[in-house]
Assembly symmetry: C2
């Protein structure tokens, strides 16, 4: 399928004279170089099947990326397939998908020769050759409909101009060059057709368990819902398992999204209702409707959770989520969060979740636990902040009470914030010392909320503390962003998947409200009562009236770092474990985890002041 | 004088059998290696005069370091001379002179062979071989009384285990090995005879101006003072210039310390008295004495300043400090700060400053300006802080009023804090943007307060802002450390030397006291009035009663970052420039200077997993 590229081939050349000239002007030196290059790598060329991961980069399908990971060598091999031949292509990574300050590979032509280089873009989008060439070109191949590039790069290069590839979300960037450039320095990304794609490059390579022979499926879907034209809707739909449905284990599930509604369905959850009620009304409507029966508040036991960007979710071989059977309710509630900022009218939706389940129960019941912050306005982010951190705790007192002596094993995690979230991390602390990162995303995007299998299962024992911190960017806000359910409010949640299941569903915190009132009192007195942050107003109104000078910002940070918390150590969101959960002291942490110093590979990179010359005849493939 | 070391030489061998064996066991390979090493370098060996800088490392004179600097190659050549031959030596650098986490070279013997290596010590003082060998051994030579090592290292190595050599204070560390070690990893610095020496390695290489033929000297010295047995004494002594002494320029000065009192004399200054008074009483006593005539408050014009660690100070060729002549007072006040923490009694002192002056006036009068914080308790550091920052401002309003349109040129700077100071920096800002570092010491020590010539003269124009920040460590304190004159109180000062002289002697700030009272009020109200930080107490007492929880610490930081300041924009400490100087807004800084990314040299370091073998017969030289 793929024809090797050598200097003898001349494909459809562009009509422009310079490129026609180019086709006949290959110098012997370049030709020899390329022959050597291709020959040297032909033998070690990984077949297509060696790239287990694929993602289209652009919506038109011009660029497709495949890759594989060597955790032993700490290297990624990339295969970039380009449909059609223009005058070049760029691909790379940047902090949040911007084309400025990006780590790039460039393939371009000056109309005569073609070049490959490890490059970077500055804060103005101007491209520069990288002094240290860490992307190593292995192969350039002509394909039936374009071009295929094979190159590799270590995870860590220690070049300050290179992106550090870690376990978390990577914002891939791409660009298409439509015309030749005389030099790399002549290229600015602002003039190109560019875009971004989010992906976890360093995926966990835990093997996907095979589905047993007796696997069955069931779809829990909203029945032809007319999506409301409000920005935020939580839709509630109650359904039930067949009568006499015995105890089964869910071993896999995936989302089923009605075609065309991919951008509107923000997240979905399937809850099981409480067993203590014999039946539940068959409600189908907005969760905040006055018509919604109060009893639905007892449908809060999570069976499955999906959010934008997540793929199919497999449980470990030894665990599954129990449902059905005696002692559990037959009633399920599907909650769909529609995000409709353009207030589109008349759109119908039947999205939901498809469950894969088996009657052959696995060894352990799996559960989901919610870590982070309580959905309450007392946790707020001032406007105009670039990296404001809010932290939620699962305290030793709660894990002591709720976890079995043998502990639990967390095998997957899904991080969740709303639109201003930029980073999320959960750390396990024991005896006052941070011990382990449970999950971290330093390039978190609310638009890419996958459930991720952990590379290493994390055991949590009674007395352990789980600390979840979210970093927010509110640069485009004029008012404080408070915690809450609305898409314009914020959340800080890590849904951890673990086994064996316990009664603990929610282990979250928020600042003690009395201490927050002291803060508002201080704001008042420092500002000579010029502003009203009086206690009679709602907390949201109080935050709205804070004058956000540096002092009031710093004081709020200080309060969140210092004030006692209120804990939600809950069996379901309505039922707490017994004990005093108000005015709890913040967990004392005496030693924190350090950012690992990247182990810089010596002698791997090539120091070069010139790009690699490659032989390609550009043109419309 | 220096005998080349080759394998044929066998010096006094140690009585221990292992070393005697070693002397006869040099392998041919090692011998060849060393011959090549010495031969290769013999021709390029820099003569002794090529090392302009020298410092004894230890008080017994066993180790002496000489060095030169190549600013072009960004490399230092070190020559380490060791008196006597033991079983090895270590030398290196660490953050503040500790033997842990140090960047080291090691020369040691296992009793058989000898080795040289670039090494580092971990947080427990355990020595490890550095994966990247950046110290390059050039020569090992036997000298008449010991050994001489020649080696070089780039300022910047980009090895995380290496010290980054910058312009500021460097804490050199050394150690002497008294017995062989089987391996590098067997050595722990805690078992060695070690010590530290502070030095500025990267000295400004501004040429020292030659003294003119007509240079004269004059000593301003305390007349046989009985040093009080208090911890802190500021001694005041008034003297006068000879009658009819005409206008001269001081072009150089140096300290004259009475032998044996080197540790007691903390700093000294010579002030000229105000011209408006015909005469001043000849006072000689503690500056805080009730007997001290009030008129001495008018002796505040700085002529010369010296502090612990400073060497002779030369003015630039085009400038000198004017003194004598019409319109200036003949009266001088010497102030000596005695620091006597062990309350030594009966010690007599005649320390002072020797002025070198000329009647041939230079083009410009030079002046000294004090930047930083006012000496007031309103600026305080909570106890148990590892890196608390206080900042003093010289505002645009003050420079606008006091500087000439053509600006001033700062050519030297002396940073000053008391005992908890760890870092000092002054930055020049213009139009709200930080532009230039005037002087910075990230490894500042109050025990090493040199006046340093700047590598580059800094021009300051009307409207510019000068921001001086000091970082303090109060880990060993139980109470807040307030600003003030006492050695247990703190200062944050940069004495900048500049020309042409202006009337501005003091451009410093402190937080507005009214805002500090608001802070104490907040502390009270947040802590339910449990503590008394009531306004009737003195500020120092108020700080003493603050409960230093994280909230009150953070709030104090926030206050200093936010609250308006009171400016001292003074001609002398008693006379302000006209204008409103209270409740001034903090300068707004919209862009700050970034720490420069070190330019990592590629391909310079040697990656090696073994030390270099060298041929030395250890023993008492």
């Amino acid at each position: 399928m793929q024809a090797h590229l050598t200097h003898q081939h001349c494909w459809n050349s562009l009509p422009s004279p310079s490129v026609r000239e180019a086709a006949s002007m290959y110098s012997t030196a370049v030709a020899i170089f390329l022959v050597i290059l291709v020959a040297a790598l032909q033998s070690s060329e990984p077949p297509e099947s060696l790239f287990p991961y694929h993602i289209p980069l652009d919506p038109d399908g011009i660029l497709e990326l495949s890759w594989n990971i060597s955790y032993v060598q700490k290297i990624i091999h990339f295969q970039l397939q380009v449909q059609g031949l223009r005058a070049g292509v760029l691909f790379g990574m940047s902090d949040r998908g911007e084309m400025e300050n990006a780590d790039l590979i460039m393939l371009w032509t000056d109309g005569n020769r073609s070049y490959f280089a490890d490059a970077w873009s500055d804060q103005k989008g101007q491209i520069h050759l990288d002094a240290q060439q860490d992307y190593q070109l292995l192969q350039v191949q002509r394909t039936s409909d374009g071009l295929s590039l094979l190159f590799k790069r270590p995870f860590v290069t220690c070049d300050p101009k290179d992106y550090l590839i870690e376990d978390d979300t990577v914002h891939l960037v791409y660009g298409i060059l439509e015309e030749p450039f005389q030099s790399l320095e002549a290229i600015n990304t602002s003039g190109l057709h560019t875009g971004l794609q989010r992906v976890q490059l360093l995926k966990s390579e835990v093997p996907t368990p095979a589905m047993p022979a007796d696997v069955q499926t069931m779809e829990i879907r909203a029945p032809d819902v007319l999506i409301p034209d409000n920005e935020t809707t939580y839709w509630c739909y109650v359904t039930e398992l067949p009568p006499g449905f015995s105890r089964h284990h869910i071993i896999m599930y995936e989302a089923v999204i009605t075609e065309g509604n991919e951008a509107l369905v923000h997240h979905m959850e399937v809850f099981q209702c409480a067993a203590k009620f014999k039946s539940f009304p068959h409600f189908n409507g907005p969760c905040d409707s006055k018509m919604k029966p109060d009893r639905l508040n007892y449908c809060r036991h999570v069976l499955a959770a999906w959010a934008l960007g997540a793929k199919a979710f497999y449980y470990p071989e030894e665990a599954g989520v129990a449902f059905g059977g005696l002692g559990s309710s037959r009633y399920l509630r599907l909650e769909v969060h529609y995000h409709n900022p353009r207030n589109i009218q008349g759109r119908r939706d039947s999205s939901g979740i498809r469950l894969y389940y088996t009657a052959t129960l696995r060894q352990f019941n799996a559960g989901i636990m919610e870590l982070g912050l309580v959905y309450t306005p007392v946790m707020a982010i001032p406007p105009q902040e670039t990296a404001f951190v809010l932290t939620g705790y699962c305290t030793d007192k709660c894990t002591m009470l709720a976890l079995p002596p043998s502990g639990i094993r967390i095998f997957a995690s899904q991080l969740h914030t709303h639109l201003t979230g930029r980073k999320v991390i959960t750390v396990l602390a024991r005896d006052g010392q941070e011990r382990k990162v449970v999950n971290r995303d330093n390039h978190y995007s609310p638009h890419f909320q996958e459930i991720r299998m952990l590379k290493e299962v994390v055991s949590v024992f009674p007395g352990d503390v789980l600390i979840t911190s979210c970093t927010y960017n509110t640069e485009d806000k004029k008012l404080a962003t408070v915690g809450g359910f609305g898409i314009l409010e914020e959340m800080c949640v890590n849904y951890v998947h673990y086994y064996p299941q316990t009664e603990l569903e929610l282990c979250k915190s928020a600042v003690n409200d009395g201490y927050l009132q002291k803060y508002f009192h201080q704001v008042n007195s420092f500002n000579n009562e010029e502003v009203c942050t009086c206690p009679q107003a709602s907390v949201t109104e109080q935050f709205t009236s804070v004058p956000w000078n540096s002092y009031n910002r710093d004081m709020l940070k200080a309060l969140y770092r210092f004030a006692p918390i209120s804990m939600h150590c809950n069996k379901t969101s309505a039922v707490r474990f017994q004990g005093e959960w108000n005015l709890q002291p913040l967990p004392e942490i005496t030693s924190t985890l350090k950012d690992p110093t990247p182990n810089c590979p010596t002698g791997r990179a090539v120091s070069r002041t010139n790009p690699t010359t490659v032989s390609i005849s550009w043109g419309r493939g």
